[in-house]
Amino acid sequence: MKRTLRGFALILLGAICSHLLMAETDAASLFKSKCVMCHGEDGSGNTPSGKVLKAKDLRSEETQKKSDAEITEVITKGRNKMPAFAQKLKPEQIQQLVAYVRQLPKK
């Protein structure tokens, strides 16, 4: 039993260390932590939770033809089932996300 407990402690330690070593400062990590849950890594919305909440395809013409100000407003104030991020993200972080969304069709 002691060996098993030691094994679990090592796994726990490894998981925490691997997390601490990761830097999460760029737009990609921001997108991953706030948007991927519904929109998916590719922005398609083709995820189980995206289908439930009818998440938009961020690569689509419908989304991409919106102005930066319109996308900023959606992220800031929310729309339909999408929550507002005004209280969570700083304005510069929202601008980073807008720029990231613009890059999605090219990925």
């Binding site: 997390h19 990761m22 400062t25 932590s33 706030k34 507002a84 209280q87």
Partner: protein
């Protein structure tokens, strides 16, 4: 196999006296363990309505499963934060303390009164729960429940799942979310409503008699163990989880002497879970398997052991009907096979044979009329090895023929005038109860005498 508290160190006569009371206690424990909740502090944290995560609380939709998988940490509301810089640690604290309350009041009536008791039973409250449920940090969150039980007249520790989650993993170039869970109930970490901790019925009476036999993974160990485990979801399809448990008797002395408790895990009890899910625009399907192995000494921590191994399969299908205003039909089922070797119970005179098995089958279908009304019909069936000592004769809770066989149906209608208020009507009907349809307990009680009407008003805020 649940149904006994075989106090190995006690004389057989004492065991027989205690058995009926313990059967009732275990039955109540099962019913209480199946009470399951949705928590408003998650709503306050995410800025999303209850319906974003639930078809009807506590049933998780795909978004709710993702939220749980990611450690209850997704948030859109303000926090006190400090970025990680150089050798300084970061800070992410919710500004709103993640506290929630559930208040349940209920009425229960059985077809035949329980001897020497008044039928038609109001409970005000049935129970009330406090939850610490939300993000503790960027990657750590909790579902932590403390419940006041009006029958016991005290607060007690209830379902708990504290988890660390990391969503940044990759495996074979596909997404990998993984984490660690600390919990006190096998299957409480699970993401679907086809496994015991979060399975149907989602609300239930703690007054009406329940069948005495149940598998160890089916609520018997709920809040009586402590476990640490890991889990992973790969490519949004494959879910794998494992936890190791030790006994942790709430209210018992520490270190655990084992005395007075029916199940004392010897060594470690492993739990495993493997599930595969897929989704299309209008369907979410899950099929899986789970199980547990435990060696236990009843009433002791040394001496002979009882061994239990549970193997189970489950499935869940949620189908959205666009033509009918996106109403959702959910179909769920599970089958549990328990094999047990009750050497300690046999040696202590609480079991007539060593080798036992118990089969548990449950299935239900639910129609969600939007988020306003849900109607559910379920069927359950328990069969297993007959044992006149393990399932002894006793009024109401016992079995005259020693058989654990019970089957019946459950009908539930829930009306949600608001997403955080549940007004439920539930009818439970028994075709067999503890081995027979008539005179099942040797005292003249019929199985359908335990048929019950249960009315519940639940307020969640």
């Amino acid at each position: 196999m649940q149904g006994t508290d075989t106090r190995f160190s006690l004389p057989t006569s004492s065991i027989k006296l205690l058995l009926p009371k313990l059967l009732v206690a275990v039955s109540v424990a099962i019913l209480c363990a199946q009470a399951a909740y949705a928590v408003p502090s998650y709503s306050r944290q995410t800025g999303l309505s209850c319906a974003s995560c639930h078809y009807a609380p506590p049933e998780l939709n795909a978004f709710g499963r993702k939220f749980k998988l990611e450690g209850y940490t997704f948030a859109t509301k303000p926090e006190v934060s400090d970025d990680k810089k150089g050798h300084n640690a970061a800070l992410h604290l919710l500004e709103v303390f993640p506290l929630s309350v559930i208040f349940d009041t209920s009425f229960t009536s059985t077809k035949a009164p329980q001897p020497a008791t008044q039928n038609g039973n109001f409970q005000f409250p049935q129970d009330a729960s406090l939850f610490l449920a939300g993000a503790w940090g960027e990657h750590v969150g909790s579902f932590l429940q403390v419940t006041y039980d009006s029958q016991a007249d005290h607060f007690t520790w209830d379902n708990t799942d504290i988890r660390y989650a990391n969503t940044n993993g990759k495996f074979l170039d596909k997404s990998l979310t993984y984490g660690v869970t600390l919990n006190n109930n096998p299957t409480v970490e699970d993401l679907w409503n086809s496994t015991p901790a979060w399975g149907f019925p989602f609300v239930s009476s703690n007054v009406a008699p329940g069948p005495s036999a149940g598998a160890i993974i089916n609520g018997t160990l709920a809040q009586d163990v402590a476990g640490v485990g890991g889990y992973a979801m790969w490519n949004d399809h494959l879910y794998l989880a494992g936890t190791i448990y030790r006994s942790e008797h709430i209210g018992g002395s520490q270190p655990n002497p084992g005395t007075g408790f029916g199940f004392n895990i010897r060594g470690l009890a492993p739990y495993w879970r493997l599930a595969w899910q897929t989704s299309s625009e209008n369907n979410n399907l899950e099929i899986g398997t789970y199980g547990m192995h435990m060696k236990s000494s009843p009433g002791a921590i040394t001496g002979l052991e009882d061994g239990y191994t549970d193997w189970a399969v489950d499935f869940q299908l949620d189908h959205t009907i666009p033509q009918w205003k996106n109403d959702v039909v959910s179909i769920r089922g599970t089958y549990i096979r328990e094999n047990s070797s009750l050497r300690a119970s046999f040696g202590g005179g609480a079991a007539a044979v060593v080798g036992h098995h118990l089969n548990t089958a449950q299935a239900n279908v639910e129609y969600h009329f939007g988020t306003r009304v849900s109607a559910t019909a379920g069927y359950f069936d328990v069969t297993g090895t007959a044992d006149p000592l393990l399932f002894a004769s006793a009024p109401v809770s016992g079995s005259a023929n020693g058989s654990p066989q019970s089957n019946g149906y459950l009908l539930n209608l829930s009306w949600w005038p608001q997403q955080n208020i549940d007004l439920a009507f539930q009818y439970t009907g028994y075709l067999r109860f503890n081995g027979a349809g008539t005179n099942y307990d040797g005292a003249g009680r019929a199985a359908n005498g335990n048929n019950s009407v249960y009315l519940l008003a639940r307020f969640v805020f």
